[in-house]
C-alpha cells in the first residue's frame, strides 16, 4: 500500500507539477489538530487510489512559500493538481466519504 510522501519546496515543481497522473497535496502542520485527524484518511485514500493519484504532504511550517503561492491560509487544505494546475481545493476537516466525492469530482472535471 502506498503512503503519502512528504515533500519540500525544492522538489515541488518536479514531483507535483510535472506528475503524469493527478496529484493530491495535503498542506498541514504538526500543531494543527484537524490536520492530524485528516492524515489517516489521506493515508487510506493513498492506498485506494494507488497508481491513479499521487499523494504528497507539504509541512507549511517549513515550506511557507509553496503555501503562499497557492493561497493556503487555513489548514488542513487539500489541493488536487492535474497537469500542473490546481483543479480542486478542500479546506478543513471532512469525513472520508465527502473527501472521496470531492476527489472524484476533481478527477472527472
Amino acid at each position: 500500500m502506498s503512503k503519502p510522501v512528504e515533500i519540500e519546496e525544492a522538489k515541488f515543481d518536479d514531483t507535483v507539477l510535472k506528475s503524469a497522473i493527478p496529484v493530491l497535496v495535503d498542506f498541514w502542520a504538526p500543531w494543527c489538530g484537524p490536520c492530524r485527524m485528516v492524515a489517516p484518511i489521506v493515508d487510506e485514500l493513498a492506498g485506494e487510489y494507488d497508481g491513479k493519484v499521487g499523494f504528497f504532504k507539504v509541512n507549511v511550517d517549513d515550506n511557507r512559500k509553496i503555501a503562499n503561492k497557492y493561497g493556503v491560509m487555513s489548514i488542513p487544505t487539500l489541493i488536487i493538481f492535474k497537469n500542473g494546475a490546481p483543479v480542486g481545493n478542500i479546506v478543513g476537516f471532512r469525513p472520508k466519504p465527502e473527501l472521496k466525492k470531492s476527489l472524484d469530482a476533481a478527477l472527472a472535471g
Binding site: 502542520a29 500543531w31 489538530g33 490536520c35 507549511v60 493556503v72
Partner: protein, 306 residues
C-alpha cells in the same frame, strides 16, 4: 447479523464518548464507538488545555484525546468512522442507523457533542480558507504581522484571540454583548494584552474582499450605526449547538436542542444515555464531559445487568 450486535454503542468520540468507552470496555461490555470523523471531538482545536486535572503544564487537546483513545482501545473499545443518521428503540434492543447500515446494542450512550455555529453572513462561505477561519491554533501562523478580527466573546473566542497575539499585529475582538462571557482568568489576560482591542455591542454583517478577505462590515447594536473595518483575517467563534438533528421526536430535547437527562445521565428512554456537551445543563468543559461519560457508562452497565 451478530457482528453488528454490541452490548453498548457510543455515538461520538470526544472526551465524553472516550471516557464512556473506557469504562464500558474495561467492564467487559462489547462496545462500539461511532465517530463520523476521527477521535478527539471539538477540544482538538485547543492548542493548550490548562484546566484538565493532572497536567501541571497544560496539554494540547489533540494529545489529551489521543491518549484517551489509546487508553480505551487497550481495553477493547472498537471504533468505526461513519455518520449516525438515526436511533430506533425497540424495547431492550436499540438500533443505530448509520451511513454504513444498522448496528444494534442493549444500551446506547449519546456523546455527539455540538456543532460549531457559523456567522451566516455574506462572504463567510466564499472566504473560508481565504481569510475566514474556525481554528486559530491551525491558522494563526498565516496571519503573521497582519490585522485580524475574532468574532465572539466566550472562552473559546477570547482564548483564540490570545493565541493570535503570537502572530497578528492587531486583534479586534467583536462581541455582541457589552461584556465577555469568558472566565475571569482568561478575561484578565485579555484586558492586559495590548494587541487586543474590544469592539462591544457589535455584530458582523458581511465579509468583503478580492481573492482574500480585505474588510468586514459591522453594525453597532445600540446605535444601529454601520461601519467597515479593514482586516486580513476573520476568526469565527460564536458558539455551537447540540448535534441532535437525528434525535428529534426520539428523545426529549430542551429549548436549544440538548438532550434532557437526570443525574444518572438517563434520557427518558431506558438504556439510552447522554453525556458531555450534547446533554442539557452541561458545563461544556472537557472534565465535565469525561465525568458525564463515566456516569453514563456505569449506569449503562447496571441497566445491562438487570
Amino acid at each position: 447479523m451478530t457482528e453488528r450486535q454490541y452490548d453498548v454503542i457510543i455515538i461520538g468520540g470526544g472526551p465524553a464518548g472516550l471516557s464512556a468507552g473506557l469504562y464500558t470496555a474495561r467492564a467487559r461490555h462489547k462496545t462500539l464507538l461511532i465517530e463520523k470523523g476521527a477521535v478527539g471531538g471539538m477540544i482538538i482545536n485547543a492548542g493548550l488545555v490548562e484546566n484538565y486535572p493532572g497536567f501541571a503544564d497544560g496539554v494540547s487537546g489533540i494529545d489529551l484525546t489521543q491518549a484517551m483513545y489509546k487508553q480505551a482501545a487497550k481495553f477493547g473499545l472498537e471504533m468505526l468512522s461513519v455518520e449516525v443518521t438515526g436511533l430506533k428503540v425497540d424495547g431492550k434492543n436499540k438500533v443505530v442507523a448509520t451511513s454504513d447500515g444498522d448496528f444494534s446494542a442493549g444500551s446506547v450512550i449519546i456523546a455527539g457533542g455540538s456543532e460549531r455555529l457559523k456567522l451566516g453572513v455574506p462572504g463567510e462561505v466564499e472566504y473560508t480558507g481565504k481569510g475566514v477561519s474556525y481554528c486559530a491554533t491551525c491558522d494563526g501562523a498565516f496571519f503573521r504581522d497582519k490585522v485580524v478580527a475574532v468574532i465572539g466573546g466566550g472562552n473559546a473566542a477570547v482564548t483564540e484571540a490570545l493565541e493570535l497575539t503570537r502572530f497578528a499585529s492587531r486583534i479586534y475582538v467583536i462581541h455582541r454583548r457589552h461584556e465577555l462571557r469568558a472566565t475571569k482568568v482568561v478575561q484578565e489576560k485579555a484586558f492586559a494584552e495590548k494587541k487586543l482591542e474590544f469592539i462591544w455591542d457589535t455584530v458582523i454583517t458581511a465579509v468583503v474582499g478580492d481573492a482574500f478577505v480585505k474588510k468586514i462590515k459591522l453594525r453597532d447594536l445600540k446605535t444601529g450605526k454601520e461601519s467597515e473595518l479593514p482586516v486580513d483575517g476573520v476568526f469565527v467563534n460564536v458558539g455551537s449547538q447540540p448535534a441532535t438533528g437525528y434525535l428529534k421526536g426520539v428523545l426529549a430535547l430542551d429549548a436549544v436542542g440538548a438532550i434532557i437527562v437526570n443525574d444518572r445521565m438517563e434520557t427518558g428512554v431506558p438504556g439510552v444515555y447522554a453525556a458531555g456537551d450534547i446533554r442539557s445543563g452541561s458545563i461544556r468543559q472537557t472534565i465535565g464531559a469525561a465525568g458525564d461519560g463515566a456516569v453514563a457508562a456505569v449506569n449503562a452497565g447496571k441497566y445491562l445487568g438487570e
